[in-house]
């Protein structure tokens, strides 16, 4: 086993020798959310802390012919959220989510956009499928319901290119915060929402930016995305009981439930945040990603690469397994995922894995692909702040193969000084991030 008696992940970590970035720590000073069950971070936390589920029968399109007809949808009214007619007409739903969450994050951070050093302000936005919903809608119109291979430009919208290249969504956020530093979309499938924030922390650590508007957004609820998961039988068929359809770590789980949403964070150089007296939610203490080099959709049951990512993140944070107070699982509710990550937690944290509470938000807000990682970061930051661990909803019959403490059904009040959140996605991506309430010198 790679974990020693003291819970230290055993690997030679020469990078700890250096103090290069000791003065450049990335802390979170603002959060904003658009999530199923309610718009805004307060509504999102209320759902999580009460263990309510927002999964329901799909209303955004006629899903009758699909195998899985369930999703966690956002009740999102762009007019009520203050978007302009131009933004509503021109932007994909995912970009609209990001703008609304971005505004909340900026306001929460208490920053004056005009007073920022724009050259030192960056954007790193995660998204797995970009503006697919709009692209599909335009395809359907331009191809006359798929009858023509030639898509007729007379019927498609003039700003179609903005949907074609999802980098346009990062450009919208850049405009919102006036960023003139590095701006990017990070698109590593279902780990995008962790990798984008990890990239943002990297920009701060290396000194390329002092403040990064980061996070992720996704609005994938469309026929083509639904069918993607249908044909590989990855999504739940519990269409007659949508509220209880996503059951991570439960013996009766039968697949993931799609979701949508966005979480945007203001990430800042710690020194800058302290100097302006900002409220600090916590720091990105460690981040690592790995590829499984195994299969585009399959997972090797031993969880080796995710364990490697966790071990690397721990080493970077200079933390022992014993210091992890909470694990936010990927918990997608598929047979293979929940086994895979249970193995990864044991492999990377040893016996301590059995003592650390683990829970999965997807049971409540579904799997919003690229966005979920950032929504999970927000949930973890609030767990750190509130001393409450949100539960795994719908977990009634534990799977004997998943034998950790998954905090079933009811939230748990407990001091949380650090949280580990992980993600796993198509392409073999495995990502781990450690969040810590107080910045360790």
């Amino acid at each position: 086993m790679p974990v020693g008696k003291l819970g230290r992940y055993r690997s030679t970590d020469w990078s700890l020798m250096s103090t290069w970035t000791a003065s450049r720590r990335a802390v979170i000073t603002g959060i904003g959310s658009v999530a199923p069950g309610g718009i805004g971070t307060k509504a999102f936390w209320d759902l999580l802390a009460n263990g309510r589920t927002a999964t329901r029968n799909i209303t955004q399109f006629d899903a009758r012919q699909y195998r899985s007809r369930i999703a966690a949808e956002c009740d999102f009214d762009p007019v009520a959220e203050g978007l302009s007619p131009r933004e509503i007409r021109r932007l994909d739903r995912a970009a609209q989510f990001a703008l609304v969450a971005g505004k909340e994050a900026i306001e929460d951070a208490g920053i004056e956009v005009d007073a920022l050093d724009s050259h030192r302000t960056a954007v790193a936005l995660g998204s797995a499928v970009g503006c697919t919903t709009s692209l599909e809608r335009e395809y359907v119109i331009g191809s006359d319901l798929g009858r023509e291979w030639h898509v007729d430009p007379r019927y498609t919208i003039p700003h179609l290119y903005e949907h074609f290249a999802p980098s346009s969504m990062a450009a919208e956020l850049a405009s919102l915060i006036g960023a003139e530093g590095p701006v990017n979309v990070v698109s590593t499938g279902c780990t995008s929402g962790l990798d984008s924030v990890g990239h943002a922390a990297e920009l701060i650590a290396e000194g390329s930016a002092d403040l990064v508007l980061t996070g992720a957004t996704e609005a994938p609820l469309s026929p083509i995305t639904t069918v993607c998961f249908d044909v590989i039988r990855a999504s739940s068929r519990r269409n007659d009981d949508p509220e209880h359809s996503c059951r991570p770590f439960d013996k009766t789980r039968d697949g993931l439930v799609l979701g949508e949403g966005s979480a945007i964070l203001v990430l800042e150089d710690e020194a800058r945040a302290r100097a302006r007296g900002a409220h600090v939610y916590g720091e990105i203490a460690g981040y690592a990603s790995r590829c499984n080099a195994y299969h585009m959709t399959g997972l090797h049951p031993d969880g080796r690469e995710m364990a490697e990512a966790i071990g690397s993140a721990l080493n970077q944070a200079r933390m022992n397994a014993t210091e992890v107070d909470y694990i936010n699982a990927h918990g997608s509710g598929t047979k293979q995922n929940d086994r895979h990550e249970t193995a990864a937690f044991k492999r990377s944290l040893g016996e301590h894995a059995y003592r650390i509470p683990v829970s999965g938000f997807k049971s409540m807000v579904g799997h919003s692909l690229g966005a979920i990682g950032s929504l999970e970061i927000v949930g973890c930051l609030l767990a750190l702040e509130q001393g409450v661990i949100p539960p795994t909803a719908n977990l009634h019959e534990p799977d004997p193969e998943c034998d950790l403490d998954y905090v079933p059904l009811v939230a748990r009040e407990q001091r949380v000084a650090s949280a580990l959140t992980v993600g796993s996605g198509f392409g073999g991506f495995q990502t781990a991030m450690l969040l810590r309430r107080t910045v360790r010198p």
């Binding site: 970035t21 430009p153 980098s167 460690g286």
Partner: protein, 419 residues
């Protein structure tokens, strides 16, 4: 688990002393399959822009493209893999194989954690995607391929490269429109500085299908001309937009220790990188000049140390004049040779930046600047020393490569000799 665990993909905590050295190049472009075929055609100044053949473009007003005409994926990939992948992935995998072979890097004798991969993409596997959309909407959900879930999304190339080459370190994907080909290579350098020993990086885009074409036409900057010799004329007074191409380049980058230990030959080094973004406020200067200056500074060089610029060469009067102004400010009017070999391929989107980096490395290897073709009427007020029609021999130690993406993305890379 006992093997060395690289901190690749982690937040860098080491001083940035690790150098990112390019040891392998794989090019798949309208100008040729393989680095040497591309380089020879580029030096000959052969324009590969032609009438589009991937589909019948008669219903569209944009009818030219820089197509890769002779690529047969089944010559390089298994039938199973060809079935599962879009053309852009097939090209990426072939070019990555060539880059690995070129680098001479031995198979990883560890567990793969010290190797990483980062690709850039403008769009996904949209040709594959359009076929599946057609099945879904015309025939029904049961007819959609089980591979659709991973064949078209933006992360597909990184995932497939990792599987094909046993790469288990960090996998990354950056999307910043046409600046993405440089941003991917910049991110690769970060990974090497974080402890990776070898990184596969670059970008290859291909979206020559009607679904994508309608979007390309809508971007408003495509050339309306039908003569390949006059369609894409960056910096020319007769400028008329650009032509879409497909292809790009994949690179193998290794840290300088590995290169010295292996005593292998290297093309050069990614010495400087920076990215900026344009404000929508028209009163503010676009970020291209700042990106270039930051990259030169990041390389520890000054403008006088740069020997050639591979321009973005957008092909609109506004963008061309802004780029010329930025170069004149940094280097002085007529202060540096500038070239745009992409006039032979069309704009390859994210692939364009990677291909320009590869071409710049070949230029340094052979000490010759490849030409810009077709440009006839260069406005004097631009103050550009544009290398036109014929290659120009020159002492080349450092090249600046620029790329801009729609929406305001600017990226710059400085490549230098590795000694």
């Amino acid at each position: 688990m006992t093997a060395e665990v690289a901190r690749a993909g982690s937040i860098a905590r080491t001083p940035p002393t690790t150098r990112a050295v390019v040891t392998g190049i794989g090019i798949l472009a309208p100008t040729g399959l393989g680095a040497e075929e591309h380089w020879a055609a580029t030096l000959r100044g052969e324009c590969a822009i032609r009438p589009l053949t991937r589909f019948d473009p008669s219903r569209y007003w944009a009818r030219l493209a820089g197509e890769v005409r002779v690529f047969d994926p089944s010559a390089y990939l298994s039938g199973k893999l060809v079935t599962q992948t879009d053309r852009m992935t097939q090209m990426t995998l072939a070019a990555t194989d060539w880059a690995f072979a070129d680098s001479g890097a031995p198979p990883d004798n560890g567990d793969g954690y010290s190797r990483t991969v980062v690709t850039g993409a403008t769009a996904g596997g949209y040709e594959f995607g359009q076929r599946e959309l057609e099945k879904l909407w015309h025939q029904g959900p049961d007819f959609v391929s089980t591979y659709q879930s991973f064949a078209w999304f933006y992360a597909v190339n990184t995932g497939q490269i990792s599987i094909r080459h046993g790469i288990r370190g960090s996998g990354a994907v950056v999307v910043s429109e046409q600046a993405g080909g440089l941003d991917a290579i910049g991110q690769a350098r970060r990974q090497l500085r974080s402890g990776a020993r070898l990184t596969v990086s670059g970008a290859i885009d291909s979206s020559l299908c009607p679904w994508a074409w309608v979007a390309h036409q809508a971007c408003g900057t495509l050339s309306t001309r039908t003569d390949p010799a006059t369609a894409y004329l960056p910096f020319d007074r007769e400028v008329n937009g650009h032509v879409v191409g497909e292809g790009g380049a994949m690179l193998i980058l290794e840290d300088d220790d590995s290169v010295r230990t292996r005593r292998t030959e290297a093309y050069g080094e990614i010495a400087g990188y920076a990215a900026t973004f344009d404000s929508r406020d028209p009163a503010r200067e676009p970020g291209l000049r700042r990106a270039a200056e930051l990259a030169i500074d990041d390389a520890g060089l000054g403008p006088a140390d740069i020997d050639v610029v591979f321009a973005d060469a957008a092909g609109t009067a506004t963008a061309d004049s802004a780029e010329a102004a930025a170069l004149a400010t940094i280097f002085g009017r007529h202060g540096i040779p500038v070239t745009a070999p992409k006039t032979m391929t069309g704009r390859l989107y994210a692939g364009g930046g990677s291909l320009d980096v590869a071409t710049a490395l070949l230029a340094i290897r052979d000490q010759v600047i490849p030409p810009t073709v077709n440009v006839r009427d260069l406005p004097q007020e631009y103050g550009l020393d544009l290398v036109r029609d014929e290659p120009r021999a020159a002492r080349l130690r450092a090249a600046l490569v620029l790329a801009r993406g729609r929406g305001g993305f600017n990226s710059a890379i400085v490549v230098t000799e590795f000694a």
